[in-house]
């Protein structure tokens, strides 16, 4: 186990280094000088030259990259030109907001998908199975923004039960808690649809296995067969996919955050890109990659815990 962890954590570190180098150089080679990107189209050439010198941008890329890594190691990720704050402060504030949203959504998605997926898959082609399959296919195929706009028009415009934005500020008469309802609903519906169909497919396959027959013919009640024998086997395949949802929930909810004006990581990255806020893009990209690799490791670990046939 220790071997497995060391190996994968080293791999994580290496990935981060490679990605940071890629992002760093990519920003260099895209059209336009870095200083020009920072200052914008209306700055004079003099100002650009000045900033270039001031930032040390006239030095070779590799030298600057080493400087960047050294600074980053001490916690200094640079300065955000868009938010006029150190990157560190901007990044972690938005990341925390997104983490909260993701955590709530994840806490809904996993039990909901397991319940629906297992119920549907335990009796293939039953009426319940067809209903759940239909529901999950429909919600998973509606784009997030359409789902968001639809829910907002029903619950905000028509019924007036919920706020249309989630700025996390208590003004406007809506509590912060109520602001979470719609964004979470959109994410959960969209994502659970996919996870449900994964779990259902796995469950259908497990129910046809001979060991389920063995359990039934032992005289075990059906419910107990499902809980004791089918559940864990049915979760083997989807567990890695479920862990990957964390990655999507943190780094991939740009649309939902934008629709509901939620001050999260996705929207921050969008703004940073639009404003060519290079230091923030670089740091954000690193966070996204870190999460991607980390959730993969988590997925593998969960798989190892569930399946005794795999030992490391």
């Amino acid at each position: 186990m220790a071997r497995f962890l060391t190996k994968h954590l080293l791999f994580l570190l290496l990935t981060l280094l490679v990605v940071s180098l890629l992002v760093f150089t990519l920003n260099e080679f895209t059209p336009g000088a870095v200083a020009r990107k920072i200052l914008g189209a209306y700055a004079t050439q003099e100002q650009v030259d000045h900033l270039t010198k001031q930032m040390g941008l006239d030095r070779p890329v590799l030298v600057r990259y080493v400087d960047y890594v050294r600074a980053a190691a001490t916690g200094d990720l640079g300065y955000s030109t868009r938010f006029k704050l150190p990157v560190k402060d901007v990044l972690f504030k938005h990341l925390a907001n997104t983490a909260l949203l993701a955590a709530i959504a994840f806490a809904c998605i996993v039990p909901l998908s397991m319940l629906l997926g297992i119920t549907a898959g335990m009796r293939e082609a039953s009426r319940l199975d067809r209903a759940i399959l239909m529901f999950s296919t429909v919600v998973a195929s509606i784009p997030e923004f359409a789902l968001g706009v639809f829910l907002a028009s029903v619950f905000v415009v028509w019924l007036g039960w919920l706020p249309g934005t989630a700025t996390l500020m208590a003004g406007g008469g809506w509590s912060v808690a109520s602001q979470f309802v719609l964004p979470v609903a959109v994410i959960v519906l969209f994502d659970a649809g996919y996870v449900v169909s994964m779990i259902r497919a796995s469950m259908v396959e497990v129910m046809q296995r001979p060991y389920i027959r063995t359990a039934v013919l032992k005289g075990m009640p059906f419910r107990r067969v499902i809980v004791r024998h089918a559940l864990r086997n049915a979760m083997l395949t989807p567990i890695t996919v479920i862990m990957l949802q964390i990655n999507y929930l943190v780094a991939g909810v740009v649309v939902v955050e934008t629709v509901f004006a939620y001050p999260g990581f996705g929207r921050m990255m969008l703004e940073a890109t639009l404003f060519k806020d290079i230091a923030l893009i670089e740091a954000g990209a690193l966070v996204a990659v870190f999460l991607a690799v980390l959730t993969n490791i988590l997925g593998d670990l969960a798989y190892i815990v569930l399946d005794p046939r795999i030992r490391v």
């Binding site: 497995f4 060991y211 063995t214 024998h229």
Partner: protein, 691 residues
């Protein structure tokens, strides 16, 4: 046995819903099973044996339906029971043992927990009591170190151990009826023998009635008192083991026995007689006898008019047969081989293919799998020497893991030799992977694999598959193929029309014929066949084995036949090599291998073969001790850890010398050959003279 019947099946009709409509699988089955009695159900695949088992368990799946009849178990009709009543019977009064024990056990639960569940469900036992029961049961099925076994997961046990667990799980509640569905299919022959002996022993102790389903007539003889022969969902004949095997009355029963290779049969004097035709699909049902379409004794207008009632055979109470002509057929006699050793004089032709000092070591590949510690290197073959002559058949036998398939891979170039080599027609090919072999070399050696399902591409037609081999191996132009394809199909006795069909429309036997036709496309000098008939039913197996023999004789090809089935090997081979843990334990002409002196391993293998003859009673030699894993080869004799004739420390420390008791016969053993000869009794029935 005068006890009341435990199970009484009356007019059982079962249908399956298919795309072609409802198909009647069991048209009306009647049989009884008395307390403590063991009934074997035999027949080829698709004849409804497993449907009988699953009907009794009321586990037919969504498509199956019991359309009529009664299944009386201890006086209650199982067909009409509700879920709760069924649950109380399943696992407690009726238990089941399945084929493929690995798949029947939950992979993510320790076997101990799976055992403990049964008393916990049925008797409300607490964990401690259930655990004690499970431990006691593990002792009964003779699993050593029961405490440790309880904590293992199924994948940590061997196939034989897994099946013992399943048997323990079935018997733990003391059921009145035990249903065993092909319980030893897929197990090695020595493991099979041990499991069958265990069943026999437990039967006496527990007094459970047994319904034993098998396609292997030999294992039925070992376990059962009575036998029922099924064909297309009907019981065509049933009676005591002695009655059925001594005086079979139904043409189908006779057909099954005639097409079965046994240890005494040889291709030269007792050819196998396959049953004509093939099992008709279940949705075709004609009036009269279901077997009429394949029967040599059919009388139109008599057999094909109305259903055939079962009648009791004269002078044999309890022996029923469903055949109108049963009394008219002449008496059946068991086919036996003629005097052995008559073929010793066969001229020793020069070898076409020789294997010399071949060693194959699998090095652990880095990052071979995503998880898992690096594996030690595995020596699959160690210093193997073999030769096969032109027109001869060399059979390679041994249990799983003995290296026989690795040998086939090296011969065909899928793997390359680590040391030593293979000479094919004077060319050294041991180090040549298949891509490095010239077209001529590829043409000279072709393979036939075990499972035709996975070697024929499902999206290509038969004609395309054979045509492609013709193009690649003979360089034929695409427009010049049709005639050659038809000719090859004729050689393997398939109609030319089959060329346009895809593999999924063919039966198992037809697919294997196509695979053989494809191997023949290059007109090979050597055909390497890796378990080509093990997945086939006996009658189909007989036809394919005969086909291989004929083709070999007609073309003068050399056949290297890899098999775990000693009876088929006895029948087909000219020379035999017995392999154990990557080494050749014994090799020589077939008559020498199947007569003393035997290598102790050959002796154990032969004694383990289930023989479909109730008169044949040989003391089995049970192999104790663990098989050493292939990465820690013993210094001395590889068989020393399990050898019943082990002489002492010399076996563990010194590699055995190769003795040559007769021309071409070699045995790797420390015991002198003449002493082995003196110690060993012949295990193969001696052929009666004058036949």
């Amino acid at each position: 046995m005068t006890d009341a019947s435990v199970l009484d099946v009356e007019g059982l009709r079962v249908t399956y819903a298919t795309r072609a409509g409802e198909v009647l699988v069991l048209p009306g089955l009647d049989f009884q099973l008395r307390a403590g009695e063991a009934l074997g159900l035999v027949g080829e695949s698709g004849c409804g044996k497993s449907t009988v088992a699953l009907s009794i368990m009321r586990y037919l799946g969504r498509n199956g339906r019991i359309a009529g009849g009664r299944i009386l178990f201890e006086g209650r009709d199982l067909v009409t029971l509700d879920d709760a009543a069924l649950r109380a019977i399943r696992g407690r009064r009726i238990a089941m043992v399945y084929q493929d024990p690995m798949a029947s056990l939950n992979p993510v639960m320790t076997v101990g927990r799976q055992l403990m569940e049964v008393p916990m469900i049925h008797e409300g036992a607490d964990a401690a009591a259930a655990r004690a029961r499970a431990l006691a049961m593990l002792g009964e099925v003779k699993l050593a170190d029961a405490e440790a076994v309880m904590e293992r997961y199924p994948h940590q046990l061997s196939g034989g151990q897994q099946q013992r667990i399943v048997i323990a799980m079935a018997l733990i509640a003391g059921p009145a009826l035990l249903i065993m569905d092909e319980p030893t299919t897929g197990l090695d022959v020595t493991v099979e023998a041990a499991v069958l002996d265990l069943v026999r022993e437990l039967r006496q102790r527990h007094r459970s009635a047994i319904l034993f389903i098998s396609h292997n007539l030999g294992s039925v003889v070992r376990v059962c008192d009575r036998v029922g022969v099924m064909y297309r969902g009907e019981l065509v004949e049933d009676g005591s083991v002695r009655q059925i095997f001594g005086n079979p009355r139904h043409p189908y029963t006779r057909g099954l026995l005639d097409c079965l290779p046994t240890l005494g049969r040889d291709k030269r004097d007792s050819p196998l007689v396959p049953i004509a035709g093939q099992v008709e699909p279940a949705h075709v049902r004609r009036a009269g006898c279901g077997f009429a379409g394949r029967c040599a004794h059919v009388e139109a207008g008599r057999c094909t008019v109305r259903p055939i009632p079962a009648s009791v055979v004269d002078g044999e109470p309890g022996h029923r047969v469903a055949c109108l002509r049963a009394e008219e057929l002449e008496h059946w006699t068991r086919r036996r081989g003629a005097a052995a050793a008559a073929h010793d004089a066969a001229p020793a032709a020069e070898p076409v293919i020789t294997v010399h000092h071949l060693t194959k070591v699998y090095e652990p590949r880095r990052r071979r799998r995503r998880f898992g510690a690096p594996r030690p290197s595995v020596r699959a073959l160690a210093d193997v020497d073999l030769a096969a002559s032109r027109r001869h058949t060399l059979a390679i036998v041994g249990e799983s893991g003995c290296g026989k398939s690795t040998l086939a891979k090296v011969l065909s170039g899928i793997e390359v030799a680590t040391q030593g080599g293979v000479t094919l027609d004077g060319v050294e090919v041991g180090a040549l992977p298949i891509d490095a072999r010239t077209a001529v070399l590829k043409r000279k050696l072709q393979m036939v694999f075990q499972s035709p399902d996975s070697t024929l591409n499902p999206s290509h037609t038969v004609g395309y598959a054979i045509g492609r081999a013709l193009r690649l191996l003979q360089g034929r132009a695409p427009d010049d193929l049709a005639g050659a394809i038809a000719k090859l199909l004729e050689v393997v006795r398939l109609p030319p029309g089959i060329a346009a069909r895809k593999p999924r429309h063919l039966s198992g036997g037809e697919k294997q014929r196509v695979a053989i036709a494809r191997a023949l496309a290059g007109d090979p000098d050597v055909i390497v066949a890796d378990e080509p008939v093990s997945a086939l039913d006996v009658s189909v197996q007989a036809a394919v084995v005969n086909l291989l023999t004929e083709i070999q004789a007609a073309r003068g090809a050399t056949l290297i036949f890899i098999s775990h089935d000693l009876a088929v090997v006895r029948y087909l081979a000219d020379h035999v090599a017995v392999m154990y843990l990557g080494t050749v334990a014994e090799a020589g002409p077939v008559e020498r291998i199947f007569a003393p002196p035997y290598h102790p391993y050959t002796e154990a293998l032969l004694s383990a073969v289930p023989v479909p003859d109730p008169e044949h009673d040989v003391a089995r030699i049970l192999l104790e001790g663990p098989v050493p894993s292939a990465n820690e080869m013993p210094r001395g004799c590889p068989f020393a850890t399990r050898c019943p004739r082990r002489v002492g420390a010399i076996c563990d420390d010194t590699p055995p010398p190769v003795q040559r008791p007769a021309a071409g016969h070699r045995i790797a053993c420390h015991i002198p050959a003449d002493e082995l000869q003196r110690l060993q009794a012949p295990l193969v029935e001696p052929a009666p003279a004058g036949r």
